[in-house]
């Protein structure tokens, strides 16, 4: 039995310890906001938050995250940085097809939680692991900057 703490709820799962967290979330807990894109940590669509760190759930065995605090796109809006990012995403109409955007928002929220006023270089570094095939990159950059503006300078 593996215990997963997802979005503040505890779940007991009868799965093999090496099962990637992505499939536990999607196929066992039916939290389908976290997306499958590549299975090799190349595209970032599967990004979730683990104790404040963005991780690629497609290459993270459940055993490694057992009993740790996992937050997914379904609950990131309950965090301060997550809510700001979601709002900026809507304000600037970042989204096109939307498939990669769960991962983009998770990476952006983690960035802002750790660094309230990221530079362009910081944004490149934090977001380069997330592919968007629709090419929404420069709106993503603008939205992160807008979300950061609502952070009080020096905070």
């Amino acid at each position: 039995m593996i215990t997963l703490n997802v979005n503040g709820k505890s779940h007991e799962l009868d799965v093999s310890p090496d099962m990637p967290l992505l499939w536990a979330l999607r196929d066992m807990l039916h939290l389908t906001g976290t997306k499958f894109g590549c299975g090799m940590a190349l595209c970032g669509a599967c990004t979730v938050d683990l104790d404040g760190q963005p991780i690629r759930s497609c290459v993270t065995p459940v055993v490694e995250v057992s009993n740790k605090k996992i937050t997914t796109i379904e609950a990131i809006g309950q965090t301060s940085s997550g809510a700001k990012v979601q709002k900026a995403w809507l304000d600037l109409e970042v989204i096109q097809c939307g498939y990669c955007q769960s991962g983009q928002i998770m990476s952006a929220s983690a960035l802002l939680a750790a660094n309230p006023h990221p530079s362009d270089t910081d944004i490149d570094k934090a977001m380069a692991g997330n592919i968007c095939r629709c090419g929404t990159y420069h709106r993503i950059r603008a939205a992160i900057k807008q979300a950061a503006q609502s952070n009080v300078k020096g905070a």
């Binding site: 066992m28 894109g37 090799m40 989204i95 498939y99 968007c132």
Partner: protein, 739 residues
């Protein structure tokens, strides 16, 4: 799809649009009736820009075959049932805007319902033709949707006037109500629907003057966005049906190969694996979850019968294309006497251009959920061709069409990949052997290696110049596989693929007295090719705009001035070109190793010009710092959507031009995931500026032109920076190495 193909399709169908123009009363194409469950139902026809009747009879004036419906409920809610699907291009917002504008309702009052191909109330043969593609949705819907809205609005006003016993002209519609202006009395649309149903349909209705538009032309917020920031939006891959199993699949890595034998004993021992399904050319593992299915697949010992394509390589394919391109082609366009003009030219310039196979790599990997029962079949999928999906499931199961239900889902990227039904056919074949519903999910590797690929094109192009260096003869021979011949055979006539020559036939923007365009069909053995974003024009615009740049260079003229001189017959093309050049600061000096390049085009009914700015390092690394894009797509429905499509289209084109090619070795695709088929990332994305030209012309398409214009702007900029002409994509860094 290209304009050439559209024109062909439109000219051969006795379609609603052309018949209506021929004098048949409009109401033949608009019908009003009571809606099931109360309210009013307005049925009408959206013309098919790209899709023709499939062998059976086309729509005629005698047969009213609507494919779109507007329902106004007693609660005043407006529901639009339409055949287009959202795949990121903003259709779910722009199409309702058209109806809301004329109907005088708030955009939020309009609810969208996907057209269900099986629904009895709306069942209709025309669903056979549901296609979302070709940058065509707004173009097709522009007139009929506004007309339907205006008709409903006129009748609602008329019903209110009748109720109050006042003159119609003293009433007006606003925000879902009719107001009697002198008295201030109001009636909601919902309270009028019963009366409207008893009124005759007006012969003529007045469409709003564009200057009175309050919604069209504004950047209305995307209606699909809120659910896409919180994980709620459901894509095909997210479907959950009670009792559903998950499957993943491996098809023979060689195209055209078959499954010879498979030992599944190890796979079946894996916890969570239920079943191994054998198809003619593939094996699927059915499991409780994707992890077990993937592990099961890896544990299979499979023997393939690789068939006749087992030794095919990219080199063979290119060699075959090169040979084929020497022979004469089918004439796609001919004007003047090219041979004579060429013979009389002061100078002749010739070049060969090549473009690789490309994969779509939609972010949502291919997937399809199917439940086959004895008496019916249900399919859950994100598709650009719903009716074809339904027909495919019916064919594979042997069930009648009305026993197949297709539930369309949001598309995690389309780009043309979801115009294909290969995944649906495969999933239904698998589901036939499974008890209960099954969701078939392809891995990324399966997705890249079993795609439909953008054709490899091999083009020979030549021009004869006069004393001033201006072209007086032009000959372009395009060689490649035909997507049309596979996807829509009736449109492949006399050896000509009208899409493959798109952008280089009638749409050619330049004034040039003698021009010949030929097409040679050469199919690569076994490799299926498809409609990749920008389709034919993606390749033709690259060749034409690169070659025009070559001619300017040979003549030692500024590429902007050279083009401008050739654009006298196309003021809209000239205007976007000048706008893009001005905004980009064309002519202003740049440091060494940097350059600007431009392109201009008329495709999908829209004019687009782009200026790319690049920096080429001594190592050959190319960095695109800025792209300026000017667009004249006629009347703009939603300016922000147009900008977004240009921005995204530019990144899509840039990814391909810089990085992408699908190659074959031993009959297999060599690339497999985002490590060897890589995508542009945020740190590589240039700044993009989009400028819209105000226009009163009918709307043009916007989904694809952003992509088609990019590659030549990029490579022309590389030429400006380095003096090296790129005639083969993707850009080869080794060739640009100058240290």
């Amino acid at each position: 799809m290209s304009m050439g193909l559209e024109r062909w399709l439109n000219s051969t169908e006795a379609g609603a649009e052309s018949t209506a123009e021929g004098g048949v009363p409009r109401r033949t194409f608009l019908k009003l009736s009571a809606a099931a469950g109360g309210g009013l139902l307005l049925s009408f026809i959206l013309p098919r820009i790209i899709w023709n009747s499939e062998a059976t009879g086309a729509t005629t004036a005698e047969v009213f075959a609507p494919n779109a419906f507007i329902r106004i409920g007693r609660d005043s809610r407006v529901t639009l049932i339409m055949p287009y699907v959202e795949m990121g291009q903003g259709t779910d917002t722009s199409i309702p805007m058209l109806i809301a504008e004329e109907l005088e309702v708030d955009l939020r009052q309009v609810t969208l319902e996907a057209a269900p191909p099986d629904d009895r109330q709306y069942a209709n043969p025309i669903f056979q033709f549901q296609v979302t593609g070709a940058s065509a949705s707004v173009r097709a819907a522009w007139e009929p949707l506004r007309r339907a809205g205006a008709t409903a609005r006129t009748m609602l006003v008329s019903a209110a006037a009748q109720t109050w016993n006042v003159d119609m002209t003293s009433c007006r519609a606003e925000k879902g109500e009719v107001v009697h202006v002198p008295s201030g009395r109001r009636l909601t649309y919902g309270s009028l629907v019963e009366t409207v149903a008893t009124l005759p349909m007006p012969d003529h209705v007045a469409l709003k003057d564009p200057k009175d538009f309050t919604l069209i032309g504004t950047s209305a917020k995307r209606l699909d966005a809120p659910d896409k920031v919180n994980g709620k939006a459901q894509f095909g891959i997210d479907v959950k049906v009670p009792g559903m199993k998950i499957a993943t699949v491996a098809a023979c890595p060689v195209f055209g190969g078959k499954l010879a034998n498979v030992d599944d004993s190890k796979a079946k021992a894996i916890k969570g694996v239920h079943q191994v399904v054998r198809l003619d050319n593939a094996v699927a593992v059915i499991a409780d979850h994707m992890w077990a299915a993937e592990q099961g697949l890896a544990a299979l010992d499979i023997q393939w019968d690789e068939g006749p394509n087992a030794t095919v390589s990219s080199a063979d394919i290119v060699q075959q294309l090169e040979s084929a391109s020497l022979g004469p082609g089918v004439i796609a366009y001919e004007d003047g006497d090219v041979a004579k003009a060429m013979a009389g030219a002061v100078k002749k310039v010739e070049a060969v251009y090549q473009m690789p196979f490309l994969a779509y790599a939609t972010m949502e990997p291919m997937n399809c959920t199917v439940h086959v029962r004895k008496d019916g079949c249900e399919v859950w999928v994100g598709s650009q061709v719903l009716a074809r999906a339904q027909a495919t499931a019916a064919e594979v199961t042997g069930l009648p069409l009305d026993k197949v239900q297709v539930h369309n889902q949001s598309l995690g990227g389309g780009f043309g990949r979801r115009l294909e039904v290969d995944v649906i056919a495969q999933a239904v074949q698998i589901a036939k052997q499974v008890n209960g519903p099954v969701k078939v999910v392809w891995t990324r590797e399966e997705d890249i290696q079993h795609d439909k690929y953008r054709p490899y094109y091999y083009d020979r192009i030549a021009a004869g110049l006069d004393e001033q260096g201006m072209p007086i003869a032009w000959s372009h021979r395009i060689s490649g596989s035909s997507v049309i011949a596979r996807w829509f055979p009736p449109a492949f006539k006399n050896g000509l693929d009208p899409d493959a020559v798109g952008g280089e036939a009638e749409e050619f923007p330049y004034k040039l007295p003698n021009r010949l365009v030929e097409y040679v069909r050469q199919e690569p053995p076994g490799i299926p090719t498809g409609f990749w974003r920008g389709v034919g024009p993606t390749h033709n615009v690259f060749v034409v705009e690169s070659f025009i740049d070559e001619l300017a260079a040979v003549t030692k003229k500024d590429p902007l001035a050279y083009r401008r001189d050739l654009l006298s017959k196309s003021p809209r093309a000239k205007a976007v070109l000048e706008l893009a050049a001005e905004k980009a600061g064309w002519g202003q000096p740049l440091p060494e190793g940097q350059g600007r390049g431009l392109s201009v085009q008329f495709v999908f009914g829209s004019y687009v010009a782009q200026v790319a700015e690049v920096e080429v390092a001594k190592s050959g690394e190319v960095r695109v710092t800025r792209v300026v894009c000017a667009v004249d797509c006629g009347m703009v429905v939603n300016p922000d959507t147009v900008r977004a499509q240009m921005e995204g289209g530019i990144m899509f084109g840039l990814t391909a031009a810089l990085f992408n090619e699908i190659t074959l070795k031993d009959g297999r695709v060599e690339q497999s995931n985002f490590d060897d088929y890589r995508m542009l990332r945020i740190n590589e994305a240039p700044a993009v500026e989009v400028y819209l030209v105000k226009s009163a012309e009918a709307p043009g398409g916007i989904g694809e032109p952003g992509t088609t214009a990019l590659a030549p702007a990029l490579t022309n900029a590389i030429f400006a920076a380095t003096g090296k002409r790129i005639r083969k994509l993707p850009v080869n860094r080794v060739e640009l190495h100058s240290a």
